[in-house]
Amino acid sequence: MSLLEISGLDLDIHGTPILRDVSFSVDPGRIVGVIGESGSGKSMTAFTVMQLLPNGAEAAGSVRLSGHEMLGLPEAELCRLRGNEVGMVFQEPMTALNPIRTIGDQVAETILIHEDVPKAEAMKRAREALNRVELPADRFPLSRYPHELSGGQRQRVVIAMAIALRPKLLIADEPTTALDVTTQAQILALLTRLVREDGMGMLMITHDLAVVSDMADEIVIMQHGRVVERGACPGIFSNLTHPYSKALLAASSHVPERVERAGQAPLLEVRGVIRDYTLPRKTLFGAPVKVHAVRGVSFTLERGESLGLVGESGCGKSTLTRAILGLEEVQEGDIRLDGEPVFDGHRANRDVRRRMQVVFQDPYGSFNPRHKVSRLVTEPFHLLDDPPRGAARAAAIDEALISVGMRPSDKEKYIHEFSGGQRQRIAIARALIIKPDLIILDEAVSALDVQVRAQILDLLADLSAKFGLTYLFISHDLSVVRSITDRVMVMKSGEIVEEGPTDRVFDAPSHPYTRQLIEAAPKLPETA
Amino acid sequence: APRTDLTMGQQLEPPHLDPTSAAAGAIDAVTYANIFEGLTRFASDGSIIPGLAESWEISDDGLEYTFKLAEGVKFHDGTDFDAEDVKFSLDRARAEDSANAQKGLFEGITEVTVVDPQTVKVTLAAPNGSFLFNMAWGDAVIVAPESIETIKTNPVGTGAFRFENWVQGDSITLVKNPEYWGEPAKLEKVTFKFISDPTAAFAAVMAEDVQAFGAFPAPENLPQFDADPRFKVLVGSTEGETILAINNKLPPFDNVKVREAIAHAVNRQEVIDGAQFGYGTPIGTHFAPHHPDYVDLTGMSDHDPEKAKALLEEAGVSLPIQVKMTLPPPSYARRGGEIIAAALREIGIEPQIENVEWAQWLETTFRGKDFGLTIISHTEPMDIGIYANPDYYFQYDSAEFQGVMDQLNLETDEAKRSELLKQAQEIIAQDYVNAYLFQLPLLTVANAKIEGLWENAPTQAADMTGVYWTE
């Protein structure tokens, strides 16, 4: 008998169908990966198992957890099962823990809720659970508060909470999405280990094919609230039948077609840039603490080249971007575009700035929701001394929109009327409208679904070919960087540790950190 | 046995308890006759009777008063009362740096001499028909040099009650003085409770938190007390002539026709009904109606808006006349002001109402004379003399009237004095100096079983010495 058996599950929320006829099962000691695009109903499936559905949700069908029919089970029974028979790990480690209670308390609570043991006993077992998730007692006493831990460490605490009672089933809903690659690899390894050690069953939810492909025993692919395909892993990848699954796989490993163009003349020169942030003093007499966000970065970007910048979160990528764009002054160093300094005295140099544009990560936050597209994309005109007016202006808007594959009629709409991918196209149109030489893409595709991401990457390659654009492409996602850049730089703690042609760096990394990054990046199974 | 304690409500709390160094009537209300006594005193009907002076002799030229003091009188602190104390008190009040608010009362005194411990002689510069009257004021009470330092917070007098306790902002408690030299008080303990808010006053009486309330501030509530067998309402009279004062120097009010127009525009009865809920006697001049020399001149200023309009036309002023009307806090002024303002608007005078606090009224209206109209009750007894002072805030300057007053001050013959007083009343009525509204009533609410409260107020006092419970 399976540990978890879902059959014919339907779910409606306030009458809106969310899940339709979902069926699959999880056996003890096995890992089932559920993948699918955003909004496909993965999380809702997990919540149905836990019976932690939002108000107004109505489920029909059957969800059996080690023999209990979860649908319609009384609340008291459910509370007994949750945390005991089934544990759950959530995506967002930063908010999944109560900020005002110690980690020991929170882990021990799982035990105290279900077993009638003295507090001291529970704390002892909490300690053991934390040890199992590799948070040793000497560095991580029980009395720590969540804010004293990093994201990866917090996620370990959440896992410790979930496995403290050695549940039969562990549900992990995108447990690593918010973490950087190296941490992600560690957490995935930890989860796999725990499953194997305890013989737990695990339901692993993710939108990233690569993440599950090398750990799951079985894969379930969902779309629009339905299971479109399921099968054993990795075999499933070689004979996918459903068009959506095929498209998903194709998009995940998509490499845009691009013409490699070696640089001819230096466009952007960055020399010995240092940027420190002074934090408020912590103690009365202590020296002010300085964060060295960027410490002595130098590089040259050739005209027409596509240069990648990779590195884990917080290594200083965005800070460098802001410095190049002239939004923040640097303490030391020199940034020049075509020989012209970005800073002219203490003010940004308008002549230089109008030749650079940027596309940000978050397609939802980078537009003023109150303006129409026509106004949004023409914002950079502000940099021109003599911006086009009237018909010329309309023509420029149309041209920019068409060049990113949108319709001119879209300019009359508000931004909330577009999907994430379309918004990112509009962001690119905004960058293109003043025909800059350099476009900086700061995690420009990280927030997008794989399929949309593939489209945007194609668009970028296409535009580069058409307009001879130069890109500085910043990302933490190695596979993306590999697919779109000619040259790549690896950044760690504010410094560039390795630099070279993309293929060379990826195939034969010389710096240990680069190696570590490449190791950690999840890889899709090779499919013929 | 009947109760022997009483809580007496009153609107204002005294700032301190020295009646000889402030104008606040609230001080007198607590201390007069209860704690402090003077040589003479007011009886409840307004007549002057002996106080600490058993008897007195007046020299034929009217310049020397020899007072025979009561015997066996002790201050509350046990020290003896004698002629030295009288000399001290009078000298203190008329001294150069005296802070006495009624210093004028002592102005004629040239010397105070101690004849023997029981006798004191006061010499005046000129005969003064009202000297004994003056000595009855709360500002002329006898204090002791021993306790003068702390008099403001711990008053020591010779009265039938002793000061016991003061909960600031709430109440003052007096207890019976067992060693009182005269007729002992019937109550053992009297608490004065200060309730400024009229609603609260009403509620406190209704809830019997206070058993009596002197000068009850909300006449609108009296019918309710009247109808309730638990209470009785005493309607008496004060010395307060309530007037719509007019700035006689401010054009166009320097024109008697304009003033007359105002007087005819005002409907006295409506003011009494609307502001006082019917309590108050109409007056036509600045004189108390209960006084034997009062002349009823109300007919001279009948309510007649048509006549008022005609008078304004005659005066040739351009309408509308904008004028500032300052109103001090009491409800007769605030409510009366609204009623009068509405009446004046009918005839083309547009008053701008400005509600002010007392301090502001004193500074801007009374001293600064920066006003056009104001409503005020002149509560000092026998104060028609203020019309002889051209600097007084309403700035009435009439040689005729001043002449009458000069004559009056020198006159000692009662019949002639009465004649002059009547003449004075008529002059100011004819000159329409102010619009005379009504005599302010003294409204007291008390438990039906309490007897002996003053019905009238010849001076601000809550004399508790004769008050008792009937059962």
Binding site: - | E270, G274, A342
Partner: protein, 294 residues
Amino acid sequence: MSDPRVDHIPPEATPFRTWHLAFRSRNLVIGSVLTLVFVAAALISFVWTPYDISKLAISEKMQVPSWSHWMGTDHFGRDILSMIMVGARTSIAVAVVAVGIGMLFGVPLGLWAAARRGSMLDEVIMRANDLVFAFPSLLIAIMITATFGPSAVNAIIAIGIFNIPVFARLTRSGALSLWQRDFILAARVSGKSSARISFEHILPNVTNLLIVQGTIQFSLGILAEAGLSYVGLGAQPPVPSWGRMLADSQTMISIAPHMAIFPGLAILLTVLGLNLMGDGLRDIFDPKLRRSRA
């Protein structure tokens, strides 16, 4: 990836959606109706009231409600309904101008502080705000009106001063979170000055906040005006004001309770209406709440 749309959906501006939501919000409907009733009463009073309130009729004083006087008459025989209609004018005028003063000074200050966030200027503005907050507002209002004489204008100033820091703070905190958003960064990339960004991008995006807070402050203004008039420091007679009507009725509450009840109800219902409207608007503007309502 979890759905970032949900958290980032900015207040949406389509008219249709807003109206649709507006009608679904019970608070907003009730609140707007109440508010409209009083605004209408105030407006109508300019051209017509059941009786002329400048005429006193002492002989008809304190009549209980009847067909000729729906809410009875007051101690001067004036029609209370007419007084309340004209009084609405005073309340609304005082509150509107006071809130206006608060916005006029507070919003630019808040924008300025946010634009120079972390600077000395920001610190000074915020400290000054704290300072105003530290003063007991009612007492200061009493002092102001005692100093410059009681009048509606001085009441407005007294109430207005305390609205400044409210709006300054609100604007600043709203603006601060906006300054972190990418679209502001995009505008900066386009070389716009911070003053320009403040007015072009920040201000329109905090207007929702300002409207919601505005209705709340408006209702507080009406309460404050009533309180000041009640202690005699608001509008002066003969201009009627609800607070003074209450003060006038106070000693008569046991004989003519209608004199106290109707003006009190007028204040209560107006403030209630404004608060409900504020809540309703907040529900509509705040996507987070809107989501959980759905």
